[in-house]
Subunit: 187 residues, 2 copies
DNA sequence: CTCCTATGCCAACAGATGTTGGCCAACTGT
DNA sequence: ACAGTTGGCCAACATCTGTTGGCATAGGAG
């Protein structure tokens, strides 16, 4: 019992497969519509295994929705390029990783998911914004505004799939939204 | 049979009560979690009545999610105040009307809701943006960008309830987000 | 007053869902 | 080789969901 993390368990591969299937299903169908049976079927495994390894559907979602913005160190970025850099970073971070879409979809039905988004964008973003010294009073507000634009972009691009937003290439998005973020950060 | 819309039916009040309860429930709980039984209980009515009057849960949602942006005539607005006017209009339109929140929450689970949002913001917004003559090629894109910011604001304010965004008063929101919309419209 | 229709409720069904317990096979340390 | 542990599956349960049909009652037309 003293070495819980040392020996790799034989079932780790299965665990990972379940997690991958769960993320994909949660992202595609939302929390309620993504049934344990469907996730288990995708992972070619019995539904009861999901319960054994993750305790409950809530537990599975909690594990699947682990997400880190991985924000770069903003102190090393030219101050007038902050918006541009941030928008590009968000796009890179989100394309090819279902987790944020899953989180966003689930936020509508699962209070825990909304709470998680709140923590991610409050803690991580606020911390990053605070690194370059703006007025501490407005820091939280600036972070909130950045979140509103970036989450709105994610919403219209990956969930609602609003055609004009979907069709924009990354470079165009950066060119348009970059100045907005720049304004929220230093306006 | 020739006068289907003339005589007001005695059950119109019940119909309206159901619709009000449905909007509130859909807005608060999302499409899947808002059960017909719960809606019926709120309306102090039997669940079977909901089916009789609206055919199915989908039908009820379709009726409850009727939404119009009611955009003002933008040709009569000073060109450099467009962003400010639009943001204030959106805020006024959304506070005190659950419909958009219901639509937004449901978009995660109900494909029809996403489609409806797409139509609202593609048709109505694009039309409004097109009234003042910008380059028609970029009109759709501008409308999409406005939608991304306004829907992001609604998402963080009414669904995710991100504290800094919730705590901002309407005037502050207009002051911060107005220039963004202005930039998307005429930048 | 008498029909007929509209309005409402009750009870039930069929299907799906999260969750549980028991059983078998495969692996592993001794 | 053996015993114990781990990984996996099957079947079942309790609950909840949308939905349906039948039955009572109230209101208006004749």
């Amino acid at each position: 019992m003293t070495e819980s993390a040392t020996r790799p368990r034989r079932s780790d591969a299965t665990r990972a497969t379940i997690l991958r299937a769960a993320r994909a299903r949660f992202a595609a169908d939302g929390y309620d519509r993504a049934t344990i049976r469907a996730i288990a079927a995708d992972a070619r495994i019995d539904p009861s295994m999901v319960m054994r390894y993750y305790g409950s559907k809530e537990g599975l979602f909690a594990a699947a929705a682990e997400f880190d913005l991985r924000l770069p160190d903003l102190t090393e970025v030219a101050p007038d390029r902050l918006g541009e850099v941030l928008v590009r970073h968000f796009l890179d971070r989100w394309e090819g990783d279902d987790t944020l879409a899953a989180l966003l979809r689930a936020a509508s039905a699962n209070p825990g998911a909304a709470e998680r988004i709140r923590r991610i964008f409050t803690d991580q973003l606020t911390a990053a914004v605070a690194t370059f010294g703006t007025d501490p009073v407005t820091t939280a507000r600036r972070a909130g505004l950045v979140a509103s634009q970036m989450l709105g972009l994610a919403l219209t691009r990956y969930i609602v799939r609003l055609p004009p937003v979907v069709e924009m290439g990354p470079a165009e998005v950066v060119a348009w939204v970059g100045p907005t973020i720049q304004h929220y950060l230093r306006g």
